[in-house]
């Protein structure tokens, strides 16, 4: 049953993958300009350009172009940048590390913030503390991340001078792990707060549900101390659904990192996106888009399968 489900889930992802590539290809085709016009010196005569276009297959029908482009894509070729002429896959490869570091740190930070806040507000349901904490969570989801980021830079970075406000390492510094961590704090905090704001609600609801279960009443009736009850019985069961929700945050993180990387000058794919946007470097943009979509697609796949393994109650439908 399980293997069958995984197999089906994999099979379903295949048309979705092709849909993603077709969609991206069409958008790229709508973009003004073409590789030849962009790459080549405008002084070259028109006839030469035509020959060049023919060679590159730009006069082929659209579907032929798509198939050629797709076969390149499957080999990991994403084309060449209009502005730097570098290979797009190489550029993305160089910049993805910092983004993954930032994203994963933010995710961990967000969950670490959300769990205690959610649990406390569930335990103190309808008390003042509950209202304050849920209010804070709402503030976290409602504050524009760029505003929060600018605020942090202004107060923590500039007024207080506690933390660096941009880049991944100090200029001219050694670039050790400590240095990177110090630079990581502010951007990760901004993204983490946005995630925590959304997760508090889930943690609280999940915890409330578990707190009402009969087995907790039984545990209490047996005279087990409240703290042990919460820790051993409630929390563990409340956290299973929370962990699986984490997967849904991946697209948000990949999208949100663009703004954050821009503000904090973090040298990841978010900043690469901005550079490409400003120079209208469409091959790079498309490459980024496809890579991001594939990351999302595969994390969703993994999450669904993990969920099926973790939660035996799930129906295989």
């Amino acid at each position: 049953m399980m293997r069958r489900y995984i197999f089906r889930r994999l099979l379903i992802s295949i048309p979705v993958f092709f849909g993603i590539t077709i969609f991206s290809f069409l958008i790229m085709n709508m973009a003004p300009g073409n590789p030849v016009d962009m790459l080549i010196n405008p002084n070259i005569p028109k006839e030469m350009l035509e020959i060049r276009k023919e060679m590159l297959g730009l006069n082929d029908p659209l579907y032929v172009q798509y198939v050629k482009w797709l076969s390149g894509l499957l080999k990991g070729e994403l084309g060449y940048s209009y502005s730097s002429f570098a290979s797009v896959s190489q550029m993305i490869g160089e910049r993805i590390g910092p983004t993954l570091l930032l994203a994963s740190t933010s995710l961990v930070l967000g969950v670490l913030l959300a769990i205690p806040i959610g649990v406390i507000s569930a335990i103190k349901q309808n008390a003042t503390l509950d209202y304050v904490l849920t209010g804070l969570a709402f503030l976290g989801t409602s504050i524009p991340p760029f505003f929060l980021g600018l605020g942090f830079i202004y107060i923590v970075g500039i007024q207080l001078g506690w933390l660096p406000t941009g880049g991944m390492t100090t200029l001219g510094g050694t670039g050790g792990i400590g240095d990177i961590l110090v630079h990581l704090i502010l951007p990760a905090l901004v993204l983490g707060i946005a995630i925590a704001g959304k997760k508090v609600r889930y943690v609280r609801a999940s915890m409330l549900e578990v707190l009402q279960q009969d087995y907790l009443r039984t545990a209490r009736a047996k005279g087990i101390s409240e703290l042990v009850v919460l820790h051993k019985h409630a929390l563990r069961n409340a956290l299973i659904p929370i962990i699986t929700i984490v997967g849904t945050e991946i697209p948000l993180l990949l999208g949100g990192s663009i703004i954050i990387e821009q503000i904090f000058q973090w040298p990841g794919i978010g900043q690469l996106t901005m550079e490409a946007l400003l120079s209208r470097d469409y091959p790079t943009l498309m490459g980024l888009n496809i890579v991001a979509a594939c990351i999302v697609l595969s994390t969703n796949l993994v999450m669904d399968i993990l969920y099926a393994i973790v939660d035996p109650r799930m129906k295989y439908s």
């Binding site: 979705v16 503030l139 524009p144 990949l254 999208g255 821009q262 999302v296």
Partner: protein, 309 residues
């Protein structure tokens, strides 16, 4: 006619007994009207009431912006980057335009984009979700894979890329923002429709020979409305936030047109950030206020419409 005869007959024969029996029974069911119940639950939620009031105020201010604003938004009124004063309550920007006036106009644009975008994608998403949920089968499979495709792209990234390809006028922005949001509504509506489809009142509508469009629009959709309304309210908040982000990055509404996001764009320069806080702090707070109010309204609606709460 014989029909009336019968009705009188059955009326006399059993109505008194049944009336007596059932009117006492009826007392238990006469709780309060659905609308009354919603109102009571919603207004019990203090933050929702606050959000509702603020939202209304913001909408009024947005509507009346041309009359409330002391200056035209693009009018050069005083010195460049002048700090707040009696004539320019929130100071002026780098080309001498009144910040307060631009703020009011920017708010108007943000609210407009937020609401219209959500209307667009809610209509389209509901339509798709309804088709998928009601007809099922291969159509459902096809439409669901389509939503999978759209949901695979990270929202901010794909919106930025497509806006840069298509150009950043206000309608394109709304279109692109909506283009990647409808799948969430479609999924929501699909699952509601799938469960409502199994109810006896829909079965009864089928046996009564109603047309499919009538069944969908009159008997299914209104009963699936609650989660759509909640999602749409949160959606307005989210869309306003996304548009602000887009404009902040310089890819959304462009200067000289005022928008809350592009007012913060300039704060990326260190001088503005540290020495001219009136240029970005008010705009940031206004975005926060709008988004927070819509989120509170959404939360209140969710609690009120949730049958279990």
């Amino acid at each position: 006619m014989s029909v009336t005869k019968l009705s009188e007959l059955s009326w006399r024969k059993e109505a008194p007994a049944s009336e007596k029996k059932e009117s006492s029974e009826q007392a238990d069911y006469m709780i309060e009207t659905y609308a009354g119940q919603l109102k009571r639950k919603f207004f019990k939620h203090k933050m929702a009431v606050w959000g509702c009031t603020t939202t209304l105020l913001l909408l009024i201010v947005g509507l009346l912006a041309p009359w409330l604003a002391p200056y035209q938004p693009n009018e050069v009124t005083a010195a460049f980057s002048a700090p707040p004063s009696l004539t320019n309550w929130l100071g002026t920007d780098q080309v001498g335009r009144d910040v307060l006036s631009r703020l009011l106009y920017g708010m108007r644009i943000s609210l407009l984009i937020g609401i219209l975008t959500v209307v667009m994608y809610v209509l389209f998403g509901s339509f798709i979700g309804m088709l998928a949920g009601y007809f099922g089968g291969w159509l459902d499979m096809l439409l669901m894979r389509m939503t999978d495709i759209f949901l695979s792209f990270p929202y901010m990234l794909v919106v930025l890329v497509i806006v840069s390809v298509l150009g950043a006028d206000i309608f394109t922005i709304m279109f692109v923002l909506a283009l990647f949001k409808w799948p969430t509504i479609a999924l929501l509506v699909r699952s509601s429709v799938m469960s409502i489809k199994q109810t006896d009142y829909v079965r009864a509508s089928i046996t009564l020979g109603y047309s499919t469009s009538r069944i969908l629009c009159i008997h299914i959709l209104p009963n699936a409305a609650a989660p759509i309304i909640v999602n749409a309210t949160f959606g307005i908040a989210g869309t306003i936030l996304s548009e602000a982000g887009l404009s902040f990055l310089g890819m959304g509404i462009k200067s000289p047109q005022a928008s809350l996001g592009n007012m913060l764009h300039d704060a990326q320069s260190l001088t503005v950030l540290t020495e001219q806080p009136w240029l970005w702090v008010p705009a940031g707070f206004v975005i926060l206020l709008i988004v927070l109010s819509f989120n509170f309204v959404g939360d209140g609606l969710r609690d009120a419409l949730d049958a279990n709460a």
